[in-house]
């Protein structure tokens, strides 16, 4: 799973600077809007009267916002709920059920990570359906009411414009929430049942390992029955210890049943498929082959530069610095989990992984050499678990205590090195973490749905905003545009800042039309000059849009749930605040837009 280090920031660390920036932006916008309002009023009524009008508007707004009545909001929300039901919200639910019914045609239980596929699928399907529903409901509701004049029956009552806007938002969110809860529950059952399986293992499936002495108790090995297109390798020692090899990211508990001389085996349900690991991330730095600090490791020619590589048999290392490590949190030592990549420059021993080492160092003693604690064999694309004990013997023969000798104020350094010369290990910041514990998967699943809820909130507020001053279809298109812009926010930003191949939109259009590749320079001339000039204008627009619109893809926690990582409370709080920080100004804008219309006065 790819995790942006920026997403792994404690909430409080993020909050203060983010709050400062937000206040600054909101105040800036307020000043600009006020100035604009005053200007318009001044042009119509003169500058002095404009002051009075502007202050009157603000006084009214303040009153409308402060004196909102929860009862009236709820009444309007109920109206929105009834209206949504009238608009056949249940159709969306029906579509969802149909999608789930036929999902089996497209989901491959024999995939390398079926849990990921199933979870990705339910979360994505739910997200698309709910967001589309939110888009239709929120953008079409007000314009339809205005067109049918049903709005007049509302505004003749003593309700405020702010209550109308908030009532709609609350109503649509309530409908969406109910739908999400039901969809979430059904999805959970779908995933659980879709992935649930066990295997059969009989005594005939197990054979003594090679080299066993005939007549002596031997270690047995074999394979389970084929279910969901996989089998597990099983080893049973003479003492009755069992081991089941991990397949498709899960194992099964193996129980040996003895009935007299007859031995039978029973495998339990799949374990480890639906998990929510709670990782503790460290900060990654690199050391080059001479042991000097480096900005990053070596590029081994991968197109994707997410991971950086270190050379084996040298002093090159990936160093993670962890903070807040306490004996209370890790009483049995540090449970390290890694997802490192291997790059071989020569074949080496085909049947074995590349050897690597894990060492620890006290960050407050930079002159000390890291002490090697574990030597391991590399594994790729599956989590490699290593345990660093609290007590261990150092190479000089002395006993070491992890927390006494290597942890300083909760800080410890973990050094990853490749032992084999001329072979390479690749890693990114999130590729090595301490697996503190497992959180509840069901709760993590719910948090994944909360991410969709936040996305829905953003769509609803945008839809309501556009519907206050645009006609139904136009409001819908505007909301759809905002939704797409939000999902392609990152692309828009890269396009606006010249980080994509092929130039801006106009240059790309010419390249597309003339079938030129993306990298060769354009022929100089009027056409190119014009395209580049237009691109500059477009880039300003795109930059503005990418700054204003929230990055919807960031609000999706599907990857966390699907890859089995707990969505931390820090992440959850951060994104909730982000969504609210966006929703609040949009709500205010919607209020002013509605207020500005004849109907809202």
């Amino acid at each position: 799973m790819v995790i942006d280090p920026k997403d792994v920031v404690p909430f409080l660390t993020w909050l203060l600077p983010a709050l400062g920036s937000w206040l600054l932006v909101v105040m800036g916008v307020c000043v600009v809007v006020t100035a604009f309002g005053w200007l318009v009023a001044a042009m119509r009524h003169g500058p002095i009267r404009a002051f009075s009008i502007t202050s009157h508007v603000f006084r009214n707004a303040w009153g409308d916002l402060v004196r909102m009545s929860p009862q009236r909001i709820w009444a309007l929300a109920r109206l929105a709920i009834h209206e949504s039901i009238r608009r056949r919200v249940v159709v969306v639910f029906g579509v969802f059920i149909v999608v789930l019914l036929f999902a089996g045609w497209f989901l491959d239980p024999g995939s390398v990570d079926p849990a990921r596929l199933y979870l990705d699928f339910v979360l994505t399907a739910t997200s698309y359906l709910v967001l589309l529903l939110a888009l239709f409901l929120s953008s079409l509701s007000l314009p339809t009411d205005l067109k049918n004049r049903t709005m007049y029956t509302v505004v003749t009552k003593p309700v405020r414009a702010s209550e109308i806007v908030l009532g709609r938002i609350v109503g649509f969110m309530a409908v969406g929430t109910m739908l999400l809860v039901v969809m979430g529950a059904i999805s959970y059952v779908f995933v659980e049942r879709g992935l649930a399986h066990t295997h059969q293992l009989s005594a005939d499936d197990l054979q003594p390992v090679e080299g066993s002495t005939p007549g002596q108790p031997a270690t047995l090995q074999g394979k389970t029955s084929l279910v969901h297109q996989h089998r597990h390798k099983v080893i049973v020692t003479p003492s009755g210890q069992t081991s089941v090899e991990t397949e498709q990211g899960h194992i099964h508990a193996l129980t040996i049943l003895k009935d007299g001389d007859k031995v039978s085996y029973k495998l339990g349900p799949a374990e480890g498929m639906l998990v929510a690991r709670v990782p503790v991330y460290g900060k990654l730095t690199f050391r080059d082959r001479k042991g000097q600090l480096a900005a990053k490791g070596v590029n081994v020619g991968d197109e994707w530069t997410y991971r950086s590589f270190i050379e084996g048999g040298t002093l090159a290392a990936c160093v993670w610095t962890f903070e807040g490590i306490t004996p209370k949190q890790f009483p049995n030592g540090l449970p390290v989990e890694m997802n490192i990549e291997v790059f071989r420059t020569y074949k080496g021993e085909i049947t074995k992984g590349v050897p690597g080492s894990l060492s620890v160092r006290n960050p407050s003693k930079p002159d000390n050499k890291p002490v090697e604690v574990r030597i391991f064999e590399s594994k790729e694309f599956v989590p490699n678990s290593q345990h660093i004990p609290t007590q261990f013997q150092m190479p000089n023969g002395k006993r070491a205590d992890l927390f006494r000798d290597f942890v300083d104020n909760g800080r410890i350094e973990l050094w990853l090195q490749c032992v084999a010369p001329q072979q390479y290990f690749g890693a990114a910041q999130a590729d090595l973490y301490l697996r503190a514990q497992n959180a509840s998967f069901a709760w993590n699943f719910a948090k994944g749905y909360f991410g969709i809820w936040l996305q829905m909130l953003l769509i609803v507020v945008l839809g309501v905003l556009f519907s206050t001053f645009l006609s139904g279809p136009v409001a819908m298109l505007a909301t759809l545009g905002a939704l797409l812009g939000g999902f392609f926010n990152d692309f828009m930003y890269r396009l606006a800042t010249g980080q994509t191949y092929g130039g801006g939109p106009f240059e790309s259009l010419i390249r597309l039309w003339t079938q030129q590749n993306q990298t060769s320079p354009m022929e100089p001339g009027l056409q190119t000059t014009t395209a580049k000039a237009l691109d500059q204008v477009a880039e300003y627009f795109l930059l503005g849009m990418s700054t204003i619109l929230p990055d919807f893809s960031h609000f999706s926690f599907a990857d966390y749930v699907a890859c089995g990582f707990n969505i931390s409370s820090d992440t959850l709080l951060t994104f909730t605040c982000r969504a609210l920080a966006f929703a609040l100004p949009v709500f205010l804008a919607a209020y002013f837009c509605l207020k500005n219309r004849e109907i809202g006065k």
Binding site: V2, F102, F106, S111, P114, L117, K223, K379, E380
Partner: protein, 527 residues
């Protein structure tokens, strides 16, 4: 007035609609099959074209509701959807997200189940490109198998595309049998119950299984299916070559005796059968303008037939051919004659050119001999014989050129030599030497190597062409290097008169080096 005009307009519309329905009916009428004696209908133009070109889904392969649903759900934007999915697949591949990569490939095949390149290219991607991304050879093997299973899925949707069967044969034989980790892959393949199903253990050799797929491909082509991008010469050789590789790998794995002998005998038989297959060539018959068809095994037959015919022509007037040749030689320029008389290795560049021209000029065709016969009554007969002889020679020449492409003569001889008890025994003894060396038993290793080399000497004396044949004695060269290491560890020098010095020299020559006097200088890749 207004309502009347409106009525007329509606009638005109109805007539136009009805008129348009006629060609639509002519084009799109569905085909019906015969039921209870009632004759079926071939359907409209489109139905007939579909049937003729095997384009209907039932004729192409399995109808998959999932695929049909997706095709309909894309609302005619199937191409766009496929493009987006290919892009996504590339992105997942770049980011090494294998779970999503696999899922996206499945989606692409649902959108374009009858686009062969999807199956062919993406199966290659899985077996060749993705598999090598994994460090663990067991995982690599799984991805190779995933690619093969992907091809097999493709066959269900495309029953008349031998390309998929051919690819399957190639992946099973070559990807598993020629990879760096071939030894491990072949073992895993043998133990793979899930892939092999009920296939008996003795038949679970990747080369044998690959051969079956190649044979299936040939059978499909013979039934009338077309395979794109494969010439019949090479694609028909794949099956027999698999049998050769099977026999070769049996010995590498340490299986000798009757099993290996039978495997080579089988290889010889299959190569012989390959020699009897009709292969259309790129040459065209002058009279019929159809491709000339040859059989690789018939070169000697044509040469013999030509020889007999020439003998008959020459017997009609003995000495005539020589006379004609002398006449032609006399007509050459002095420089040309000098060039011809100079031994080829001593000719200058100019002389080579002149000699080449001269040789063409002094060449006496059978037709020329027939035309110059003194006995005019036999001229017609002689001309007929001359034409037949020339035709046979021409065919023999075509066959010879095609044989060179697949190294036909070499493999025929190899299959024969490898069956000899002497070579089998020599290989077995050297294999024992390899095992002894691996176990650290240097004395036995040396003994076995020396005995094995003696056995090889006898074989090479009988078949001297093998001395310089790298592919046949590749393992022998390796064993000589191993033997040198054994002697080195025993602190013994290489013998001055090494029994296989000619093999060493030939090996050095093939590496672009001068043959050395002493064996110590044999290049060692491991050095």
């Amino acid at each position: 007035m207004g309502s009347r005009r409106s009525f007329v307009r509606k009638i005109v519309y109805l007539v136009l609609i009805a008129a348009l329905l006629m060609p639509l009916y002519w084009l799109s009428k569905p085909a019906t099959s015969a039921v209870k004696g009632e004759q079926g209908s071939p359907g409209g133009v489109l139905a007939q074209l579909r049937s003729k070109d095997h384009l209907s889904q039932t004729q192409l392969g399995q109808i998959d509701p999932g695929s049909v649903t997706i095709k309909l759900a894309t609302l005619g934007l199937r191409g766009v959807a496929a493009n987006i999915l290919w892009e996504k697949a590339n992105d997942f591949k770049m980011k090494k997200d294998w779970a999503n990569f696999g899922a996206t490939l499945n989606q692409i095949t649902k959108v374009q189940p009858n686009f062969i390149n999807v199956w062919s290219n993406q199966a290659w991607n899985l077996s060749y490109n993705i598999s090598v991304e994994f460090d663990d050879f067991r995982q690599r093997y799984r991805w190779v198998i995933k690619g093969i299973e992907f091809l097999m899925d493709g066959m269900r949707y495309n029953q008349h595309q031998p390309r998929l069967q051919w690819d399957t044969g190639w992946f099973i034989s070559h990807k598993i049998g020629k990879a760096d980790e071939a030894k491990q892959f072949r073992k895993l393949f043998r133990e793979d119950d899930d892939f092999n199903g009920s296939r008996p253990l003795a038949e679970r050799d990747n080369w044998l299984v690959g051969k079956k797929w190649f044979e299936e491909t040939v059978a499909m082509v013979e039934r009338g299916d077309h395979i794109l991008g494969k010439g019949p010469l090479l694609f028909r050789s794949d099956g027999p070559m698999c049998q050769m590789s099977y026999a070769d790998n049996l010995e590498k794995d340490g299986t000798f005796g009757e099993v290996a002998k039978n495997a080579w005998a089988g290889a010889g038989r299959e190569w012989q059968r390959y020699g009897t297959a009709e292969i259309p060539t790129s040459w065209k018959n002058e009279d019929t303008q159809t491709p000339v068809v040859i059989r690789l095994g018939e070169q000697e037959m044509h040469e013999e037939a030509a020889r007999k015919l020439i003998k008959q022509i020459d017997a009609m007037e003995p000495g005539l051919r020589e006379k004609l040749k002398a006449e032609k030689r006399a007509a050459l320029s002095k420089a040309q004659r000098e060039a011809l008389d100079t031994p080829p290795e001593k000719r200058t560049g100019r002389q080579q050119e002149l000699a080449f021209q001269a040789e063409a000029e002094v060449d006496v065709t059978h037709r020329e001999v027939a035309r110059r016969l003194s006995d005019k009554t036999r001229k017609a007969e002689a001309l007929k014989l001359a034409k037949e002889a020339a035709d046979h020679e021409q065919l023999a020449s075509y066959i010879s050129r095609y044989r060179d492409i697949v190294n036909y003569a070499y493999w025929r001889q190899r299959a024969q030599i490898e069956q000899s008890d002497g070579l089998l025994a020599a290989r077995q003894i050297i294999h024992r030497g390899d095992q002894a060396y691996a176990e650290g038993d240097l004395i036995n290793a040396r003994k076995n190597y020396q005995r094995g080399f003696e056995g090889w000497r006898k074989v090479l004396d009988r078949y001297p062409s093998l001395v310089a044949d790298e592919s046949a004695n590749e393992s022998l060269t390796d064993s000589i290097k191993q033997y040198r290491r054994v002697l080195g560890q025993l602190d013994e020098p290489m013998p001055d008169k090494f029994i296989l010095q000619d093999v060493v020299d030939a090996h050095l020559k093939s590496q672009g080096e001068e043959p050395k006097k002493k064996q110590e200088e044999l290049p060692d890749a491991a050095k």
